[in-house]
Structures are given as C-alpha cells and as structure tokens.
C-alpha cells in the first residue's frame, strides 16, 4: 500500500512516540540486562570494555531461571493477576451488562459513576483500604462491636487483600470494554432467541455471552497486564508474604542496586506480557475470519 505524504505525517506521530518512549528506553533496558552490577556511576559494567570488546552475558537471565525466588515471584504474579482478573470479570460483567441495558438517557451517567473512583488519587484509595482492613480498622472494630468476632481478623497483609485491592483498582478497566461491546448488542437478537423458545438464561448463553467475548478478552487483558507487574498494591495491602515480581524488581533496583538483574526481570516480564497480547490478536483475527 502506498501512503500519501499527509498520511505518512499522521502515522509518524504515534511511531515517533513509541520509538522515543518505548523502543529506545527498552533497548537501553535490554543493554543493561546483559551487563553485570558493579560499584560506580552508573552501577553496571559498560557494553564495551577498555579494549573495545563487547562484554555481554546472559548470566542475569540464567539466575532468574535457576534461583527459586524469582520463579516463585513470577508464578505469584501470574497467580494473583489471574485471580484478580477472574474476580474483576465476575464483578464487572454484571456491572457492564446493567449499564448497557439501562435506558439510553441514563447510561452515560452510570458510566461516569463506574469511573468516578479515578477522580481521587490511586494511592489515597489504597491507603483508605489499609485503614479499613487493618486490625484496628473500621471493618474489624465494627465486627467486634457487633459481637460477631472476638479477635480482629487478619485482613491486611494477605494475598487475598492484594487480589482484592487489584480488583478494586482495575474494575473500571474491565467494565469499560465490556460495556462498549454489550451496548452494541442488537436487542432483537435476544428477542428472537426468546421467540424461538430460549429462556433468558439460555438466550444469555447462546447470544449475549458469545457476542461479548471480544469485550471479555479486552477487559481481561487490560486488568491482567498491569496487575502482573503491579507493585504498589501488593506492597501496601499484600504485606511481606505476598510475592510478586514487581516487588522483587523494586528491591533489586533500589535496595540491592543491581540494575542489570532488575533489567533482566523487566525483559522477561515484558515477554510474558507480549505473549498473551499476541495470543489475543491471533484470536481476534480468527474471530474476524470466521
């Protein structure tokens, strides 16, 4: 396809952005991941030594796949992100469905409500949850004063709290694409299903659910991808026992000052993220072809 000059100019914008702020920094990260940590500024060995020879090694990567800590952290991230995505879907689907089925005049208002939490700072909201969940927090004191529990429940510093926090923070990312898809569902398809003898539940399974699948995919990716690398929520709500790769990378970088290793962690994480995106696009292409 031959592009006109003006079109090239328009396309150049996003490309330039991606090259400057994603590709170039990422190349830098890859370069650092091949170096070794050392004391100095910057705290890693240069790519070319004094004699002009390239010094690059895959030692950092080898460590990631041999040291049990990193594998457990990756696995913890995948598990927590997957759980959070599943719960966000279970919670977000009825949300999106209700908004999409509301009278057209009220939909944008409901949508506004769904994204209203974004108007306050993310950190403030997570700290608010700490206030609610901690042993002397509102939930525990209320339950105690009602006589439902004797001792405070351990709500904070659990993996469940981290999952919960991620669901809470990312729910709008699930609701929005689901809503966008469900809102376009032709109601006459559901009426036709009912007319042909399908109960509402069967009509949902046969018509609404397959129709919403692209939205389900998009919502799941929008929650899963940032959740996989999430650092703040597991740190604040999950406590020291919640192992996620974002936390490990943070401590390698800031505590151990091992830039090359945390760069390697990042590269592997990115590959893990790109894999589901490629799978998603392949699935979308299959859907279109069918």
């Amino acid at each position: 396809m031959k592009l006109s000059g003006r079109r090239k100019l328009v396309l150049a914008g996003p490309w330039l952005w991606l090259i400057l702020f994603f590709l170039a920094p990422f190349a830098l990260v890859v370069k650092i991941s091949l170096a070794q940590a050392e004391l100095g500024v910057p705290p890693y060995t240069p790519l070319l030594d004094a004699a002009g020879h390239i010094q690059a090694s895959l030692a950092n990567y080898a460590l990631l796949f041999t040291d049990d800590l990193y594998l457990r952290a990756y696995w913890g991230s995948v598990r927590i992100a997957a759980l959070a995505t599943a719960f966000a879907l279970l919670l977000g689907y009825p949300f999106a469905y209700a908004i999409a089925r509301a009278p057209a005049s009220r939909r944008s208002f409901y949508l506004l409500l769904a994204i209203a939490p974004f108007w306050t700072s993310f950190l403030v909201r997570i700290y608010a949850w700490m206030g609610l969940l901690r042993p002397g927090g509102l939930i525990n004191t209320t339950l105690q004063s009602l006589g439902l529990i004797d001792a405070p429940l351990k709500l904070m510093n659990t993996e469940a709290a981290a999952v919960f926090g991620i669901v809470y923070a990312y729910l709008p990312f699930m609701v929005l694409p689901l809503y966008a898809r469900l809102e376009k569902l032709d109601v006459s398809l559901l009426e036709a299903a009912a007319d042909l003898g399908a109960t509402p539940w069967r009509a949902f399974r046969a018509v609404t659910w397959p129709w919403s699948l692209p939205g389900v995919w998009a919502g799941c990716l929008l929650v899963f991808i940032p959740a996989l690398g999430e650092f703040v929520i597991p740190e604040l709500l999950g406590g020291p026992d919640t192992l996620m790769i974002g936390k490990v990378m943070w401590s390698e970088f800031f505590t151990n000052r091992d830039w090359p290793l945390s760069a390697a962690i990042t590269v592997v994480l990115l590959v893990m993220l790109v894999a589901p995106i490629v799978a998603f696009q392949a699935a979308a292409r299959r859907n279109e072809a069918a």
């Binding site: 032709d186 036709a192 007319d195 042909l196 046969a206 018509v207």
Partner: protein, 342 residues
C-alpha cells in the same frame, strides 16, 4: 376456529397509547395484514401477540388458551423480525437448529427438521454459511426457515419485505403466499405498503393511532371503505368535504349539490371517488367541467389532473389517448361509483 384472539388489548408507552382497545380474531389459515403508517401501533400489536411486550389491559389467546401472562419462549407461535435478527456467530443451519434445540430436539430428528425447513425456502445448500455471507433475500429465507422449523401454530412477520429490493419483493410476495397455502397456518404480517397488503392478505386490518379502523378483505376495503381515513389510506382516491342533509350532499369543491341516496350518512361527510371510476366526457350522471393541469404518463395507463372552476384538483385514470395540458374537458361518473363516508 380462531388461532389468535386479541380481546380489548391496550398498550401505552409513557404518554403514548400505542395500542388502544384493539380486538381481533384470526382464524387458522388466514393471511392477515396489519396496515398503517409508522407509529400507528401495528408493530406493537404484533409484539404483544408474540409476547415481546406485555399489554396493559386485555387478553390474548392462542388456540383458545389465555397467554396474556405467558413469556414469549413459551408461546407456540413464532415471529420473523424486520431485521431478521439472525444470530451472526452461528451458521445458517445452526440458526435454524437453535429453536429446535430449545425443545430438546437432537440427533437425527434435529437434522431432519433443519433440512426440512431449509428445503422449504430452497436454502439447503447454504446451511454451512454465516448469515453475513448471504444476500438480503437469502437472509430473509433463513429467518423464515428458522421460524417455520418450530412448526408454529401461527407465523408473525414484521415488515417481511421491507429490506428487499423491488424485483425481489414481488417474487417473495408470491412465495410467501404459496408457502402459507402449503402449510395451512395463519400468517399475520405488518406492513405500511397498501399494495403489499392488498396483494398478499386475505384480510387487512387498517390501523391508525392505535386503533383498527376497519378490518375486511382487500376487495371490500377497496370498494367499501368504512371511513374517510380508510379511503384515504387504501388506494388512490379523490376525496372532498361535503355536508349531507335530507335533500342531498353539498360539495363546495365541486361547486354543486349531489343527489341523496338512502344509505348516505348525514352531517359533515367525505365524498370519495376513485380515479378509475371517472371517465372522460359527460356520459355519466355526475359531470364536472375543468381544465387539464397535468398529465402523468405511466405507460399503459395515465393519470390526468383536472382543475375545476373552484380550483379543486380531480385525479382521473385514463386508459388510452390522453388530452393535453390546458385542454378544457368534462369528466363524469356514475352516482353508484361514488362513496359518501362519515
């Protein structure tokens, strides 16, 4: 024996009365058209019968059973949607099988019934296609097959031909009529097209503002419309205001009084006369002189517009050579050809 009975059914949406105290009886094997302009309540009436909307008042019976509170999926009738509403993620055969699967049909029975329904509309060879890969006419056939596969007691059709182009529409009209005769079940269809209603239906219900103005065979509706509104809607009509009393009917637009007949109503009336019942020349009882203001050529027949002394326009159907624009002519009609309506 009536298959669908609608008794004093009303339905309002907010302030709008969509269906206003309508009663209707449809017998097995009938082909009934609900005819009216958009917003007259014809589609709502069809949806009430299908169960897609709930009436505010009245009773709907199918085969004698009260189904007023029955959800659509439990009613033994099916509806073909104007948009066809084919499931886009299913093949043609899966679409047709969908309704049968809801009745727990499976295996060989299911395949036979799907084949049967697709053969009925000559779509058997395209069972593996997705609806998007079909033409509009083919999609319409699949929608039809999907309904008929359920062997409904009656088939409801919402503007079944509206999405088809003209040549296809005529062929499909004939096919629908043949299909109904073959299956022997009642077809009820909604249309805004009076030609379509006249061609296909055995009875036509003319609707306006949520009410049925008149329900009769196309012939009766054409020859004996019950009111001015029906006369105006059904076919081409010259209609003039008149005032009828014991002596006769005064028609200011025609500049004359017409003699009285015993069956005329009294008071303000509409005087209606079909263009094809008016002939050139003064041979019939009622004559009107005027000037030809326009000639609309339509091939075998033409329509001549005649302006009389009061400025009223008369449409006259002419079968043969036409006068020219500007000619002073006289037209006439028999009193029996004229309708005087309340």
């Amino acid at each position: 024996m009536s298959v669908i009975t609608v008794e004093s059914v009303s339905k309002r949406f907010g302030d709008v009365v969509a269906v206003d105290n309508v009663s209707l009886d449809i017998a097995q094997g009938e082909f009934v058209a609900l005819l009216g302009a958009s917003g007259c309540g014809k589609t709502t009436l069809l949806r009430l019968v299908a169960g897609l909307d709930k009436p505010d008042a009245g009773v709907i019976r199918i085969d004698g059973h009260d189904v007023t509170g029955t959800p659509p999926y439990a009613r033994p009738i099916n509806m073909m949607f104007q948009s066809y509403a084919l499931f886009p993620h299913m093949t043609v055969a899966e679409n047709v099988a969908f309704g049968l699967k809801q009745d727990s049909l499976g295996g060989e029975d299911l395949r036979t019934r799907v084949d049967e329904a697709l053969s009925l509309v000559e779509m058997r060879d395209l069972g593996g296609r997705k609806p998007q890969a079909l033409s509009g006419g083919q999609q319409q056939r699949v929608a039809l097959a999907r309904c008929l596969a359920k062997r409904p007691k009656a088939l409801l059709l919402d503007e079944p031909l509206a999405a088809l182009d003209k040549s296809l529409r005529e062929r499909t009209q004939l096919e629908l009529m043949a299909l109904r005769r073959r299956l022997g079940i009642a077809f009820v269809f909604v249309t805004h097209d009076q030609d379509e209603a006249m061609t296909m239906a055995t009875r036509v219900a003319v609707m306006d503002k949520g009410r049925i103005l008149q329900i009769a065979s196309p012939r009766d509706l054409y020859a004996r419309p019950a009111s001015r509104a029906v006369a105006a809607f059904f076919g081409d009509m010259n209609i003039f205001d008149g005032l009828a009393d014991a002596q006769g009917v005064a028609v200011p637009a025609l500049g004359r009084r017409l003699p009285r007949a015993s069956h005329y109503p009294t008071g303000p009336v509409a005087v209606a006369i079909r263009p094809e019942d008016i002939s050139l020349g003064g041979n019939e009882a009622i004559t009107v002189p005027g000037t030809v203001s326009d000639v609309i050529y339509r091939g075998a027949i033409s329509t001549v517009l005649l302006r009389n002394a009061t400025g009223a326009i008369l449409r006259v159907t002419v079968n043969g050579p036409t006068p020219s624009v500007g000619d002073a002519i006289t037209v006439s009609w028999a009193q029996s050809a004229m309708l005087v309506l309340p």
